[in-house]
């Protein structure tokens, strides 16, 4: 199914104030892949993600989602295909109660009432948040907000999920639950994050960005072992691969 493909070719973007954020990024994601996008603060991760669902239109280069290159014309199609989960769920949850929020997208798609209801309940049950449906979003905990934000995107049945730092400011258990949840998804997923341990758990492939360019793109395990590469990308080994803080011993992996 070629419509789950994301192709980015020599993408460049400079913010109107003159900050160059992307200086020629290229990669190709195929159906069902879960890919991590890592890199230093300001490397351009968020800017790149904003291109994938048409929040930003390429200044130079090309983005293709499925069969369509991203242009103003194909925008509605692209937005239906790509679902974006924001870093701060507060940005995403603006309706008075959770149910309305999750129903917002499907309603705007013009679906009939019953379908909407089914989609909403379905999305909420996938993230395990059915019991929250009548609560106002601004009274939820951090982890709950995150789940609802994901549900509000899932209810639009996107084929590709784009997430910006989904584990930020979650407590360890909520983080773990999120990871388990994402593992069950069969979507094509691209995650920008600083949480390299999550990357290790979720993503087979990793793309390292540095100053708006792709520094490396390959199997997660190899990239996250390459200390030189990590260092140049302002990263470090995932914590679980680092030495034990007490005895200082390196972990040997058979």
């Amino acid at each position: 199914m070629s419509h789950h493909i994301i192709e980015v070719k020599d993408l460049q973007y400079t913010y109107p104030d003159g900050t160059p954020a992307l200086r020629g990024v290229s990669f190709l994601l195929t159906h069902g892949e879960t890919v991590a996008l890592v890199g230093a603060n300001g490397a351009g991760k968020s800017t790149l993600l904003l291109h994938l669902n048409g929040c930003l239109i390429p200044q130079a280069g090309m983005v293709r989602i499925g069969d369509f290159p991203l242009t103003r014309k194909t925008l509605p199609h692209v937005r239906r295909t790509v679902g974006m989960v924001f870093q701060d769920p507060d940005d995403q949850l603006f309706m008075p109660v959770v149910y309305d929020d999750v129903a917002f997208g499907p309603l705007n798609l013009g679906l009939p009432q019953e379908d909407v209801e089914e989609r909403v309940m379905n999305a909420l049950s996938i993230v395990g948040a059915t019991h929250l449906k009548d609560r106002p979003p601004y009274r939820l905990s951090g982890g709950e907000k995150r789940s609802v934000a994901i549900a509000s995107v899932l209810s639009m049945a996107p084929s590709i999920l784009v997430m910006d730092e989904p584990t930020a400011s979650l407590d360890p258990k909520a983080r773990r639950q999120l990871i388990h949840l994402l593992k069950t998804f069969t979507h094509t997923i691209i995650i920008a994050t600083h949480d390299l341990d999550m990357v290790l758990d979720l993503c087979a492939r990793t793309i390292v960005l540095k100053e708006g360019q792709v520094l490396a793109d390959g199997p997660t395990w190899e990239i996250l072992q390459n200390e030189e590469l990590l260092d140049s990308g302002h990263l470090e080994k995932p914590l679980r691969l680092q030495g034990c803080p007490r005895c200082g011993g390196e972990r040997e992996c058979p």
Binding site: G18, D91, L93, F104
Partner: protein
């Protein structure tokens, strides 16, 4: 204010321009503020049918733009964007005031057209002057200047904080609109109800933030007064700038330089 989002970027860009270190940028902000105000007042003091006398005043923005290394195309674009109100009110002049004022051979110009042209020239001059002030001084320095010149402290502090959080909240708002636009199709879901929810949401977050900012200030000894230690000094060069320009403005106001030059050319042609 049609496109606020791009206005925000403009703020950010103008702000970037003000970080340069040209001669103009290094002048004392108070001097630039006063000179700008004097410039505007002089330009506006001309009669409504004045055109020729206004033209020499172009020299002020031209020189400042050149010396301050400011992008002229960008400034002109900004002026154009702001033009509609002056244009729509001014365009009534030709309709109401049809008496012939100037006759150029067979061409008859009514007073309305002359005064309309005058309005547009004033508009360009005054707006450019204000934009140059901000692009060559920076907003924070203008605030400091205002405060030093006797504006109430609470107003100056207001301006500083407003400017500081403009960017933070602007980001928040643009993320909210972005999130909405991703889930709206064929402009469904852009209605009033959703809008007020978003504004309400943004307001709640703003109030929370204001509370946190206040706490942070209190934690560092804030007692209702903001103290800033940044001495401003007016030197000889600053005074020279102000007096030189003001003198020139007065001269250009008093003497119709274009008429002289035109007259001279006419003499020569004869």
């Amino acid at each position: 204010m049609a496109n606020i989002e791009s206005s925000f970027l403009d703020v950010s860009y103008l702000d970037t321009l003000s970080y340069q270190t040209t001669i103009i940028h290094r002048l004392d902000p108070r001097i630039k503020l006063i000179t700008t105000l004097f410039f505007i007042a002089t330009v506006l003091s001309f009669g409504k049918y004045e055109i020729a006398g206004l033209i020499p005043f172009v020299i002020y923005p031209v020189v400042l733009i050149a010396l301050g290394n400011l992008p002229i195309a960008y400034l002109l674009k900004k002026v154009l964007v702001a033009a509609p109100f002056a244009f729509f009110v001014g365009i009534f002049n030709p309709l109401m005031d049809r008496a012939v004022l100037v006759q150029l051979g067979p061409l008859e110009l009514s007073g309305g057209w002359v005064s309309f042209a005058s309005i547009m020239i004033r508009f360009i001059l005054t707006v450019t002057a204000a934009l140059i002030l901000i692009a060559s001084t920076g907003f924070n320095s203008v605030c400091m200047a205002l405060e030093k010149m006797g504006a109430p402290k609470s107003l100056a502090v207001q301006l500083l904080l407003l400017y500081r959080y403009l960017f933070v909240l602007g980001d928040e708002a643009s993320r909210l609109t972005r999130a909405r636009s991703l889930r709206t199709f064929e402009s469904r879901g852009l209605g009033f109800k959703v809008f007020t929810n978003m504004i309400g949401q943004l307001l709640l977050r703003t109030l929370d933030r204001a509370k946190r900012v206040h706490l942070a200030m209190r934690c560092r000894g804030f007692d209702g007064e903001i103290r800033v230690s940044r001495p401003l000094k007016i030197g000889g060069r600053d005074l020279g700038f102000m007096l030189g320009w003001s003198g020139l403005f007065v001269l250009m106001r008093l003497y119709p330089i274009p008429q002289w030059m035109g007259g001279m050319v006419a003499e020569l042609l004869k």
